[in-house]
């Protein structure tokens, strides 16, 4: 049992993401009431993109809170903001009309759960149970001066806006610059960390794998779900072992050490998958030849039969399009320019960015977004009532399945610290880790996911 996770990795993330964060503090509710200067929206002076008609919605019966994005962050905030301040008239805008979770999706590949486990959760039920409105639409523009958010179905006026669009891939950072190559790579060897359709493709790959080399890459930076690529490698290896295939999983890791739960993963690699998993540290991808099925790193090239190429991540491109992005001095992953404690856009207490588009060095993971969502809901309720609220840390409790036959998992549970003098998130706090894999942990993992579904979709 160890109570440390890779401190170096945390410092690396904080260093790249936050070290330059200036001590910009929220102006406080008084400033909100007085009317904070709110510049017009649109990307760097670009015109406001809109359908130029209002979305047909019932008249707001209280301050309208519009939430863009129905992932873990948006769903949690929609429900809990309404609970925290029932006067809120909440509208959740989500471009998908069918939910399927990214968290726990690795468990589908070896058949530990089925697709129903991930996807049998209705946006309609969530909205009905949570007392809010679900709109199936795509956000296309924002005009902060008139507090109007545009969707492909029409415009919506807001009193408070939460933008929670998640992540986009950054293929340029793995040396894939050509648009033909980017499209081919994304369609043929998807990362599997954004869209459910990527999960379907990877599920098909795992089931159709008859042997040879399967490459799983691990990017640098603060990518979504630190342990997930290692977990996926273990689960694919588990299938190879179970099916007695002549094959192996090659992990090309941009990082010098496994980024989280390293002892638990190393134990699984050594004890369960000797000869089946090959882990290559400090092997950042510098290019991919899709047609030639070859991944290039600085020193070597690796041929593969199939692969899941996980490129670097950045905040969703919507953050850039809506002109909510921090300058490169504050985020090298194009994340949002927000107050790191209260999530409002710097200079605008009507607009908030949450979930994996945030610049804070929190784990970009389901449990983090869920616990953060509980807190942001309280921030919004406080701001709507002109009250102050104390900062509380999100929680990252994260299980990783390292074996499928039988299912065995390890876990880490951590919170984060805040340094008021530096106005910076300082690192992991109150960390507990169980690197000893067990079936009891494996079963708890499933309940962990079910709990999150309940919290987002039930009353």
């Amino acid at each position: 049992m160890t109570h440390e996770i890779d401190r170096r990795h945390f410092l690396k993330m904080s260093g790249t993401v936050l070290a330059a964060a200036p001590a910009v503090l929220a102006a406080g509710p008084a400033a909100l009431a007085a009317g904070v200067a709110q510049p017009a929206g649109g990307k760097q002076g670009a015109p406001f993109v809109s359908t130029h008609r209002m979305l047909d919605l019932p008249k707001a019966r209280g301050p309208r809170l519009v939430i863009i994005g129905g992932g873990t962050s948006g769903l949690t905030i929609a429900k809990h903001a309404k609970k925290a301040y029932p006067k809120f008239d909440v509208v959740l805008v989500e471009k998908r009309c069918m939910y399927s979770s990214c968290f726990a999706s690795n468990l589908w590949y070896p058949g530990i759960v089925n697709l129903e486990f991930l996807a049998d959760h209705s946006f309609l039920d969530a909205a009905h149970n949570g007392g809010y409105i679900y709109v199936n639409a795509t956000c296309i523009g924002l005009d902060r001066a008139s507090r109007t958010v545009a969707t492909n179905e029409g415009d919506i006026k807001y009193d408070f806006l939460v933008v929670a669009p998640g992540i986009s891939y950054d293929y340029d950072k793995i040396g894939v610059h050509d648009i033909d190559a980017k499209v081919a790579l994304r369609q043929t060897y998807p990362g599997g960390f954004i869209c459910p359709t990527e999960h379907v493709t990877i599920h098909r790959k795992v089931h159709q794998f008859e042997g040879g080399v399967f490459i799983q890459t691990v990017p640098s930076g603060n990518y979504r779900c630190l342990p997930a690529p290692y977990e996926r490698a273990c689960l694919i290896a588990s299938v190879i072992k179970h099916n007695k295939l002549k094959g192996k999983v090659v992990i090309l890791d941009a990082n010098p050490e496994i980024t989280i739960k390293a002892p638990g993963f190393h134990a699984a690699f050594d004890e369960l998958y000797k000869g089946i998993i090959e882990w290559h540290p400090t092997a950042a991808v510098t290019g991919v030849d899709v047609a030639g099925r070859t991944v290039h790193t600085e020193f070597d090239s690796y041929k593969f039969d199939d692969a899941a190429i996980y490129p670097n991540v950045r905040a969703a491109t919507l953050i850039e399009e809506l002109d909510l992005m921090a300058p490169p001095t504050k985020s090298n992953q194009k994340e949002a320019n927000i107050d790191i404690r209260f999530y409002n856009l710097i200079g605008d207490q009507r607009v908030y960015v949450t979930g994996d588009s945030r610049p804070m060095p929190y784990s970009k993971s389901g449990n983090t977004s869920n616990s953060e969502g509980h807190y942001v809901a309280k921030v919004l309720a406080a701001r709507a009532q002109g009250k102050d609220i104390a900062w509380t840390s999100p929680q990252t409790l994260c299980y990783s399945m390292v074996d499928a036959f039988p299912k065995q998992a390890i876990w880490v549970d951590t919170y984060y610290g805040y340094d008021a003098k530096k106005d910076a998130i300082t690192g992991f706090k109150d960390t507990k880790v169980d690197n000893k894999r067990s079936e009891a942990n494996g079963t708890a993992y499933l309940e962990w996911a079910r709990g999150l579904y309940r919290d987002m979709f039930k009353a």
């Binding site: 509980h374 549970d413 507990k432 079963t443 309940e447 079910r450 709990g451 039930k458």
Partner: protein, 234 residues
């Protein structure tokens, strides 16, 4: 006196004569529910002396679908605590009962995201020894997201994401027979949310409507390790 009222009074008198009916709710906010004597799986009365210290016993109360823990705190005594439920309001948790005031009961549904012991599995348990998440011995731990509760302090939250304590169940103990009964609890609004969250599962297990039926005059208490096929040990 009309006949209906007479029957009611007679019934009340007869009930008051039984020990398990004789103890009024100590905390005003603990709702009276029809009392239920705790029995073993074979129907024989459960004796306080037979409650183990190593794990919780699970029993249903006040409804068939609501699981509760009966816990023997061993050398620790339970003291009343002033607590609050966001849905069901303020209350004072009952003191421990039994010859050593070390028997307590609480609703075994995590107040964070409603994990509870099912026949297949339980993520929530009483751990008499320390564990990675619990830290100290004698805690109730929910492995789902790491909530930890102290059963000696009204099952108040110690750490983790739970917003409030596990809800209390009031026990009565009869010195003469060493018997135990559940006599009241807090949580009617919480139970409604729990039933809503698990309606499909509860209908499968108890039949339509069965889960919100009162347990009746007796309720079976069995060790968690027998109640649930697998129990997490975080």
């Amino acid at each position: 006196m009309d006949r209906r009222a007479f029957v009611k009074v007679c019934a009340g008198t007869a009930i008051a004569a039984a020990w398990w009916r004789g103890q009024p709710a100590l905390a005003a906010s603990i709702a009276d529910h029809p009392p239920a004597r705790l029995v073993n799986a074979d129907g024989s009365p459960l004796k306080a002396a037979d409650v183990p210290t190593t794990e919780a016993l699970v029993f249903a109360y006040p409804y068939r679908g609501v699981p509760c823990f009966l816990i023997n705190l061993g050398a620790r005594a339970a003291h009343p605590a002033t607590l609050a439920s966001p849905e069901d309001g303020d209350y004072t948790s009952p003191a421990g009962v039994g010859p050593h005031a070390n028997l307590v009961a609480c609703v075994a549904i995590c107040t964070h995201q409603l994990s509870y012991p099912t026949p297949d599995y339980s993520a929530i348990r009483y751990a008499d020894s320390a564990s990675p998440l619990a830290g100290a011995p004698g805690r109730i731990v929910c492995c789902t997201h790491g909530s930890v509760y102290d059963p000696a302090a009204g099952a108040a939250r110690v750490s983790g994401p739970a917003p409030n304590a596990l809800l209390p169940v009031q026990l009565a103990w009869d010195a003469e027979s060493d018997g135990l009964a559940a006599t009241g609890c807090v949580g009617d609004k919480f139970f409604a949310r729990f039933f809503d969250a698990y309606k499909s599962d509860l209908i499968d297990r108890f039949g339509p409507g069965g889960y919100h039926q009162p347990v009746g005059e007796t309720t079976v208490a069995i060790p968690l390790s027998r109640h649930s096929a697998a129990v997490s040990t975080c």
